[in-house]
């Protein structure tokens, strides 16, 4: 479903991605780990074209994301993204946050959008918060609304950019359990995260990125139980 080929990305003189290759199949959950600054988030942001690759190709469902002739807005409608800092719209209620894009982008009828929005809020356990504004919610609640907002576009692929890194420890669990349910429901997911427990439990594959390339990838049991590469071993010994 997702193909990344020889992806390079530089910011000025700084080369962040140095030839990344990645294949994600439909329904697969891939967790990307690695030290900060290794390029994980940049890779994720290239996939939905928030960053323009310097070199290389990205294909989602056979559509070349990096092709200037591609209507990137159409691609993004099917690719949900969840950010580290939530990026909820502070001037809108949680329900309005969720219904805005379906109404304006998909031209969905307001009643239908609300109905679907309420169902999504219920799904993330926040049905009673529909009229609250983002600043009235806790971090964990904000991130769950952000997930619901992305799901409202009926995405075929979800990208998670360190979704729990900005959360207080006691709120991480509620977000991870929503993500886990999503994985069980068969969503294709690429998750950049430091949550090793989540990777071990939910991922089909774990990938380790360092210095702008993938160094190692394996199913979680093998990845955590028997890492091959020295740098993976060194990283895991520090974080586990």
């Amino acid at each position: 479903m997702v193909e990344v080929r020889d992806l390079h990305k530089s910011f000025g003189d700084l080369e962040v991605l140095k030839g990344v290759n990645l294949d994600v199949k439909k329904g697969e959950v891939v967790v990307v780990i690695g030290p900060s600054g290794s390029g994980k988030s940049t890779m994720l942001r290239c996939i939905n074209h928030l960053e323009t690759p310097t070199k290389g190709h990205i294909t989602i469902d056979g559509i070349r994301v990096d092709d200037p002739r591609t209507n990137i807005n159409l691609v993004r409608q099917t690719v949900g993204m969840v950010f580290q800092h939530f990026n909820l719209f502070p001037h809108l209620t949680t329900l309005q946050n969720i219904t805005l894009a379906p109404r304006k982008v998909l031209k969905m009828d307001a009643n239908q959008a609300e109905e679907e929005g309420l169902a999504l809020l219920a799904k993330v356990g926040l049905a009673d918060k529909k009229d609250q504004y983002p600043d009235q919610l806790s971090g964990g609640q904000k991130q769950r609304v952000a997930i619901a907002r992305a799901l409202a576009m009926h995405p075929r692929l979800m990208l998670f950019d360190e979704p729990t890194s900005a959360l207080d420890p006691e709120m991480i669990g509620e977000v991870l359990s929503v993500m886990k349910q999503l994985a069980i429901d068969g969503m294709t997911m690429i998750v950049v995260s430091h949550e090793m427990g989540f990777a071990r439990e939910v991922a089909d594959r774990v990938l380790f990125m360092d210095g702008g390339v993938f160094i190692e990838e394996a199913p979680p049991a093998e990845f955590f139980g028997n890492p091959k590469h020295e740098r993976t071993k060194a990283f895991l010994s520090k974080v586990l």
């Binding site: 928030l50 807005n73 993204m81 990026n87 719209f89 502070p90 982008v105 600043d135 907002r149």
Partner: protein, 220 residues
């Protein structure tokens, strides 16, 4: 030093009659300038130089030259080369609007640029076009942030509108000039008109402060 209240009392209705013109010029230039300024601000933040540069030139020129020079240019200068017939109130309105537009453009731009870039990214990642993201996500948040500086700009414009008197419009300032000339009491004329401006600007400052306070209690 005497402040002849008798003279002031005699001319006060005459002076106050100028408030209408002062106020009308200020409000119309402010509203038109706010619209013009929004267009210019949106142009200025584009990467395309054909959209950005004219907006930069416009704001730089207007903010770098005196309003008085701009009024003379539009009323006396340009009719000579463009051949239109100067009409005082139209030229004054145009000059004030163009002037306010440049300052208000910078207010809009500051407000838009103060919005976290993550808002645009979130909107775009949901499939919104740039225009949709601006319209539904960025601008509604920018409007709220622009209200306090817009209030200040309104007050500045209220004072600067006195320059329309130089091309013969009978605003507050012009009426003070006339009062001075007729009564031979320049101190009474100009001190009284200054007080009238002061009362108006203080009133509006209060109003803006109250709006601002209400916003702070509300949502960011």
């Amino acid at each position: 030093m005497t402040y002849d209240l008798g003279v002031v009392r005699r001319y006060l209705p005459f002076l106050l009659n100028g408030i209408g013109i002062t106020f009308r010029f200020t409000v119309v230039a402010f509203v038109l300038g706010a619209v013009l300024g929004l267009v210019v601000a949106l142009g200025r933040i584009q990467r395309n130089p054909f959209m950005r540069l004219p907006c930069v030139w416009y704001t730089d020129f207007i903010r770098g030259t005196p309003l008085l020079a701009q009024i003379y240019l539009i009323h006396f200068g340009l009719p000579q080369v463009l051949g239109y017939k100067p009409v005082g109130w139209i030229d004054a309105m145009v000059a004030l609007t163009i002037n306010a537009g440049a300052y208000i453009a910078e207010i809009w731009r500051g407000a838009i640029e103060s919005i976290d870039p993550g808002q645009m990214e979130a909107a775009r990642s949901l499939g919104m076009t740039y225009s949709q993201a601006m319209r539904y996500v960025i601008l509604p948040q920018s409007f709220k942030r622009a209200i306090p500086p817009l209030g200040n700009e309104f007050i500045a414009l209220l004072k600067e509108s006195c320059l329309v008197s130089v091309i013969g419009l009978e605003d507050l300032m012009m009426r003070a000039n006339m009062m001075s000339g007729r009564s031979f009491r320049p101190f009474e004329a100009y001190f009284t008109v200054a007080l009238i401006y002061l009362i108006m600007t203080l009133g509006f400052s209060r109003l803006v402060a109250r709006l601002e306070g209400g916003l702070k209690r509300g949502r960011s």
